[in-house]
Subunit: 323 residues, 2 copies
Amino acid sequence: MVVTLKDVARASGVHTSTVSRAFSASHLVNPETRIRVLAVANELGYRPNRAARALSTRRTGNLGVIVADIANPFFPPLIKAAQDQARARDHHVFIADTDERIDVEEEAVRSMVGQVDGLILVSPRLSDRRIRELADEVPLVVVNRRLRRLPCVLMDVGEGIRLVVGRLADLGHREIATVLGPPASWTGRAAVRAAEETAREHGVRTYRVGPHQPTEEGGAAAFDAVLDLGVTAVLAHNDLMALGLLRAARERGVAVPERLSVVGTDDTLTARHTRPALTTVAMPVEAAGRAAVDLLLRGADPEVVTLGTRPVERDSTGPAPRG
Amino acid sequence: MVVTLKDVARASGVHTSTVSRAFSASHLVNPETRIRVLAVANELGYRPNRAARALSTRRTGNLGVIVADIANPFFPPLIKAAQDQARARDHHVFIADTDERIDVEEEAVRSMVGQVDGLILVSPRLSDRRIRELADEVPLVVVNRRLRRLPCVLMDVGEGIRLVVGRLADLGHREIATVLGPPASWTGRAAVRAAEETAREHGVRTYRVGPHQPTEEGGAAAFDAVLDLGVTAVLAHNDLMALGLLRAARERGVAVPERLSVVGTDDTLTARHTRPALTTVAMPVEAAGRAAVDLLLRGADPEVVTLGTRPVERDSTGPAPRG
DNA sequence: AGGATGATTGCAAACGTTTGCATCAAACTC
DNA sequence: GAGTTTGATGCAAACGTTTGCAATCATCCT
């Protein structure tokens, strides 16, 4: 039924080890033999059994990427970039979606350990301790979370956020709210920290709302609280939440940006198509995906790659309304 | 370093086979022994080696899902639904993105054969023949493509399209364009067929534009041709392309829906947030994901599951402009 | 010429599980 | 109480590769 090395060996009159070498160590076998063996293998329709190979070599040729939510438009470009890079390095990528749930994340990780040569955890929700434990079992790199002595790829949201907040201050805003996403989000905390710091420097007051789910619904749910604060501008944890805020604003008849300026984070494709188009902070997602794969496959010493971010000003922000 | 069955066996004074059975055939081992063994295994931090298990049993506990483009918002909900269903059936899901490229699809399929117990091909671009060949190597189910004697999950776009076209006819439209996506798209062809059929019944003329890439850019690229035809309504292959049409219309100063009605397909999340909000045909993506997993794991006779679709009328469609 | 070198191949032992079969004791059957 | 079933475990052969080692043979060097 299924063709194995042994079949190919028998059919071409050599030992299985020679066939094996013809495939994976071609310099160790006579060119003529190699060609003959490959021809026979091809004719028989031989396909190497990856499980067996993995058992023997302890390498699978697969990488795992674990993300919180593929439906969140932030992740797909990162995944695709990682995939391209991995393909270029002769590896394949398995993706798992954790549904923003820590138990599912744990399970996904567990299922991948042992069938991949390395793991990329994107914005993981697991505890630092758990991640370090995992790092002992399998090579891994963490994206958007800082862990000492582990390879990390970080997007410096602070950079973009500082510029955005400065810009809002220039536009006359004196009170800004930040809408929080998952408490375990490293970037989220970094963004809030940068926002509050910059605001203080500019004599702008800040308030926090949330945490809420990092979804459109989560953003909508935060709207009333934002309104009650009486702020003139709001920074959302991501574009999805900003979308929810925009929708809620429209439903409540609050004009954006005339009465309230709304800023997202991520610059996902949809940001351009909201009504009004969303001002947001663009993240270097493709670069992050590629960097993560490189870090993983290079297998070098723990290293931190930091990538910059920049604000994209569109129509959801404007001058503060006159008091 | 890494703990194997043998280690657990030695530490708990039984044979490896007993340890193995304690895990995967617990009714064959004395309850007391089992508990002791499991305790020891747990303490030692034993994790079964999946490659070894796969080699021995020829089953991996993994399913593969292959999609054209995870960045296309049509796919993630399907993937997530499949993932949930698989998890409920004690399986894991590996995802691969083919980037809409047939060679990458071939490669992705190849890499998965042998490391999954079954494959779900969503809107595959491979030839019928190739898919049938694959079906001999690995159990598979095809989503949104009809192949005799293979298990398929189909979304009956025709149903929704017929209703939409009827509605456009009622609104006074007499000339409609369809913008084509990838020629290999089964749903695309079904949709166009349904549209043209229904149009004919209503005495409405139809034109075809394309094919173009099923992306926002593709949609924008089609706009001029649509405009030249002088039609009053256009059906896009998917929401992304409709988005592109909307953007191009705005840039060219063509009012939607006053001068041109635009209809998408898929009802992705973004459809709600375009300006104007997009009229589209909602697809039963979650149901399809679940059905595909069920078909695969049930392993029953080839079976075809057909799921209905329905139009969602929003603001991008309206009465035809008076001639 | 005689030994050293290098290229090519075969041999066989891993890799970590699962599983059919054999074994053995204890518990039944009549 | 001899024979039979039942339950629990061990034994060893798979599963399909890879790879260190040894064997063979031709070639090269001096």
